[in-house]
Amino acid sequence: MTTSDGAQPMTEPMTESMTMVAALNAGLRAVLEDNPRTLLMGEDIATLGGVFRVTDGLAKDFGERRVIDTPLAEAGIVGTAIGLAMSGYVPIVEIQFDGFVYPAFDQIVTQLAKHHYRSGGDTQLPIVIRIPFGGGIGAVEHHSESPEAYFVHTPGLRVWSPADAQQAYTGIQAAVACPDPIIFLEPKRRYWDKASVVLARPTPAELDQMWTSRTLRTGTDVTLVAYGPMVRTCVEAAESMTQQGISATVIDLRSLSPLDLDPVFASVRQTGRCVMVHEAVETVGLGAEISARISEECFFSLEAPVLRVGAPHVPYPPSRFERHYLPNIDRVTAAVRQVMAL
């Protein structure tokens, strides 16, 4: 995977076109190689390599002591990962799908999130919880959810989401390097998107960088803010809007906790308009937080209210409805038109 071009000089980083799945696999392989205390745990991750094959081949190469097929018990997975972390390991946990993280919610919210605080800094729990999340792949129920608001609302957790293969490769390594517990949300509808990935080990500075938001495109009329699966949607919307003479900035938050909002504020101070896009339900979602913060920080620069494009106050519907339920380019464009009209 990391050796497609053996001829390249060592100083030149290897670049390869790969899917997000392959990039995550490469990133996990890197941390397993670099840190003998890292472990992978989850359902079907060892022999099968995960239902999405993100951990394909890792059990074979690193052994079943480090890549563990666990019993089917999510509280058990997170709870034992906490114990493993207390004993000095760095567990990287897979929850098979977004909709199955809730049995582990107590361990995540009352134990994992609080332990560093409770111990006055004595005990770090450097655990990464990987969760394929979001919809758009025609799955049955419980396989398309966006639970990020629950975690971002919870002090003590960090939350992170990659938008493309390169972000995934570097981001998973940044997550593992961080001593805090992290919910790592992988946008499953982007799993098979290919991108060119620089496969060099990230430098400490590059790892730090992953905790900031990044501006993908700079425009003058409106600021689009997104993360994970909706980043591509926003970039495409922004591109299509140029034909309508609308010039949009697109910001990928990457880190959902902490939220690095200064670049957003800076942009909104220039554009005066903002649309926040996510798949999750709007009510008390991240869009609400972004909107509130922008009001608080940029009130006098705003030409229009921050608009949110998210899911309605409805459970994730059967898959034949999902294209009506999820934000898409048209809905983003409509919201932009709406703020532009004000």
Binding site: E43, D44, T47, L48, G49, V51, D69, T70, P71, L72, A73, E74, A75, G76, G99, F100, Y102, P103, G138, A139, V140, E141, H142, E282, T283, P312, H313, V314, P315, P317, P318, S319, R320, F321, R323, H324, Y325, D330, R331, T333, A334
Partner: protein, 364 residues
Amino acid sequence: MTDVKFEAPLRLLTPEGTLESAPSIELAMPTDVLEPALLRSLFRDMTLTRRVDTEATALQRTGELGLWSSCLGQEAAQIGSAHAMAHNDFAFPTYRESGVAWVRGVDPVALLGLYRGTTHGGWNPQEKQFALFTIVLGAQVLHAVGYAMGLQRDESDGAVIAYFGDGATSEGDVHEAMVFATVQSAPVVFFCQNNGWAISEPVHRQTTVPFTQRAAGYGMPTMRIDGNDVLASLAATRWALAHTREGGGPVFIEAVTYRMGAHTTSDDPTRYRPAGELEYWATQDPIQRLGTLMRARGAADDTWFQQLADEADALGERIRAGIRGVVDPEPELMFDHVYAQPHLQVDRDRQRWTTLTTSDGVSS
């Protein structure tokens, strides 16, 4: 970690299609079970369940369904146990109980709605006395116990069956269900289909001892049966339902069977299934062994088997036509039934959605 040691499970009908000469005393042969009409009924339901399965798998291949989770190989466990239920008993399934659904009278086309992506449900649970399929592992087992507590309070003579898999036994919910059921002495039968696998994880990832031992730890009677023996499944479940109905508290049945297909149509079992396993279990087929018995006992003749084959073909045709005839529900229906009574956020979001989809340029 070693393989779980399997003692021989209780059985009445051997893989060769003969009656067990000395069935263990725990599992007595019900008197009516060798009635030709009952044997035919069991055979018919297993055969048609398998046909539903075959059709659904094919419909998934052609893109008519998004997914299918086959019960191929598990027909005896499902049909036998479902036949033991009285009309006012209530069953709580996982996502794999298409055989039980069939016996409870759920129309196969309705059942496939979940897998087509047109509905999360598909039938009225109260009407069929059969809960909706539940995908979150173990969650329905608690509902089953609660339902049984309701029957208890109604002084009803109904009882409940909770279906779940070997993998699901590890979930905390299943434990809590057993705690509640034993403490409340609730009329519920825990029916665990141990089909050898939880996706790619073999049983020894969930336990080092038989599941019956674990269940016995809660202080309830347990039975470990050959899950490919429809007569054992029927007899054991009858005993269990009678026991629990009469106030004996919960009973646990482990039906040792095998998932002959992939976990779902998304799965590739060749990545984990050891060589020879499928071949071994092919010799244990539940339908074939009952057919052999029926022929030997003259319970059905060639004409009857041919009629059944025709019936299966007709069912296949009906399912294909039914599924192809399903039109996608109107998009705005997605806003219905979030609540039983009006809710301002739903109303507002529906309103915004309608405005958007009827305004220019925005495809819904």
